[in-house]
């Protein structure tokens, strides 16, 4: 189960401004998915190491050799708001 308040909290962490309708729908859907997922607790994982990787690799390191960077025009070409050779973003909300 997940409560509406938790959904709101997670939406804030996720930077999603959900509509009221979505909050209701997601509260139900996530609860239902979590009910299934909670069955994981049945598995005996005592002393089991977590798996982050399945590849048998270590020490994959790159030589410190420069590679060409993008032309600035290219780097900025997809920016919603490029200004003065930089990516422009609105400022944080002033403190209330």
């Amino acid at each position: 189960m997940i409560e509406r308040e938790q959904v709101l909290h997670v939406a804030r962490l996720s930077r999603l401004r959900l509509s009221e309708e979505e909050i209701d729908t997601l509260t139900g859907e996530l609860s239902s998915v979590l009910d299934h997922v909670d069955k994981l607790a049945e598995v005996d994982i005592e002393g089991v190491e977590p798996t982050s990787h399945v590849v048998p690799l270590e020490n994959v390191l790159r030589d410190d050799e420069p590679r060409p960077s993008l032309d600035r025009d290219v780097a900025l070409s997809q920016a919603p708001d490029a200004h003065d050779g930089a990516f422009r973003v609105p400022s944080p909300q002033a403190e209330a």
Partner: protein, 478 residues
């Protein structure tokens, strides 16, 4: 009777590594270039890119770990630290949250909790509102710096005053500089220091509520900022008010502390192991290389200099600046029997002052060879010239690179060794200066200075001060 308070300070120091390229891509590191000219799909976090870690950054990190006398970890992994901010293009920073490369170290009196490797954020410039966050209408993001390899060093809370933080910070900076793995330039941001400050009743072992002071760009400001914060916390506690956990900015121009509290809720960084990277398990060769390549570090060097008689102050000055230490050792090597304490004083005192006086000459460009300075020190030690004449000679050496013995000969600065000649000058000085002579005779010994000065003037500094003193006292009947 009021309670005594003790400050407890821990530091988090960020050191930008001076590799050629960024931590996870091949873009060159830069400072002061036009915005966004050192970016690529990886450091702009375009869709689909993956990080490729820089071997040299890892090797540099291990050297720092070794220099801080840390245990170097046999298993390194990376994690994602999630937070949204325009200077953090992936919205997660790749860092070592769980398995850092170095733990449990010590530098001087301060224990190192751990040191980890991560990537630097981009630079955000707030426009409008005088460059400050509040009241500005927009920000510009420059990703040149984004992805620079960064080592974060976290100390135990072993420091107790602003001055101690400054001194220790300078030792740390000198130590890392010696390794050649960072520019450690605070103004350019290649060394940045955050401090966690709290106070507690002296003798207590509990920690009070701490505040965090962010990104101060000189150790002198850090000292002042921390002292201001300690004073603020004491005043709060003494007034019965609580210290609130917050992040503070110290404004060195006003000496004021500002809270950087934002409206944002408490951070939940949602760490997870970085699935795009595999573990780094340093080989024995990598660990050996890190330890064996260490140069003599400032703390050890200072101790060695003090052991051979150099004063503590001069030993520290020499040890913190490799080129000065090398110069000093050149002086010692050039002439057998030169007293290290005297030589150190000449290097850190007279030579340093003269270089400063003459157009702020850097040591690296001086015309004065260590051997020439050694010769000069010898002339003074052997009383062939007086100390005062020695300074005159040095002035000429710094200006022209002249040989000290030649300068002495050309200017006729040899000490007056004929005591009969000196005696005549002394008698003349007493006669010419009846007033101080009378004062000395009637018990005011300090007045003898005026007579010494007169003798020195008459001999153009060529007399030995001790001998002049002896003769004056003799003729004044003391």
């Amino acid at each position: 009777m009021s309670t005594e308070y003790e400050a407890v300070i821990g530091l988090e120091i960020h050191v930008q590594l001076s590799t050629k390229t960024k931590m996870f891509c091949g873009c060159e590191l830069s400072f002061g270039d036009d915005a966004n000219v050192h970016t690529c799909p990886v450091c702009l976090a375009l869709p689909g890119v993956l990080p490729a870690p820089n071997r040299t950054a890892f090797e540099y990190a291990l050297k720092i770990g070794a220099a801080l006398d840390c245990e170097l970890s046999s298993f390194n992994s990376f994690d994602r630290k999630n937070y949204f901010y325009p200077d953090n293009p992936k919205a997660y920073q790749i860092t070592q949250a769980v398995n850092p490369f170095a733990v449990n170290g010590k530098l001087g009196e301060v224990r190192i909790h751990h040191a980890h490797l991560e990537e630097d954020a981009a630079k955000t410039i707030h426009t409008g509102g005088a460059g400050r966050i509040q009241g500005s209408d927009a920000s510009l993001v420059d990703f040149n710096r984004g992805g620079t390899p960064l080592v974060e060093i976290v100390t135990e809370p072993d420091l107790h005053s602003g001055a101690q933080v400054r001194e220790w910070g300078q030792l740390l900076r000198a130590t890392i500089k010696q390794l050649g793995v960072s520019d450690v330039n605070m103004e350019e941001g290649s060394l940045r220091c955050d401090a966690n400050v709290s106070i507690r009743p002296a003798g207590s072992s509990e920690l009070g509520t701490k505040t965090e002071m962010k990104n101060m760009n000189s150790f002198r400001f850090i000292e002042r900022g921390i002292d201001a914060e300690i004073a603020r916390q004491k005043a709060l506690v003494e007034a019965g008010e609580p210290v609130v956990q917050e992040t503070l900015h110290f404004d060195p121009s006003t000496g004021e502390l500002h809270s950087l509290r934002s409206k944002e809720e408490a951070h939940d960084y949602r760490y997870l192991p970085e699935p795009d990277l595999v573990p780094v398990v340093p080989t024995q060769a990598m660990l050996d290389e890190a330890r064996n390549s260490l140069p003599e570090l400032p703390a050890a060097r200072a101790a060695r200099y003090e052991e051979i008689g150099v004063s503590e102050q001069a030993a520290l000055l020499l040890s913190f600046e490799t080129d000065w230490a090398e110069y000093f050792e050149g002086v010692l090597a050039a002439k057998k029997g030169v007293d290290p304490r005297v030589a150190a004083n000449w290097v850190t005192g007279e030579l340093s002052a003269e270089l400063r006086k003459q157009d702020e000459q850097p040591l690296a460009e001086t015309k004065v060879e260590p051997a020439a300075l050694a010769t000069l020190i010898g002339l003074v030690a052997e009383k062939k010239i007086s100390h005062g004449a020695g300074k005159t000679v040095l002035e000429e050496m710094v200006a022209s690179g002249a040989d000290p013995e030649t300068v002495v000969a050309d200017k006729g600065l040899e000490q007056i060794s004929d005591s009969g000649e000196l005696e005549k000058i002394v008698i003349q000085a007493i006669e010419d200066n009846p007033k101080p002579s009378e004062q000395v005779r009637s018990g005011n010994e300090k007045a003898i200075g005026a007579l010494v000065g007169a003798v020195m003037k008459a001999t153009q500094g060529r007399a030995d001060g001790g001998e002049v003193n002896r003769l004056l006292r003799q003729h004044l009947g003391l």
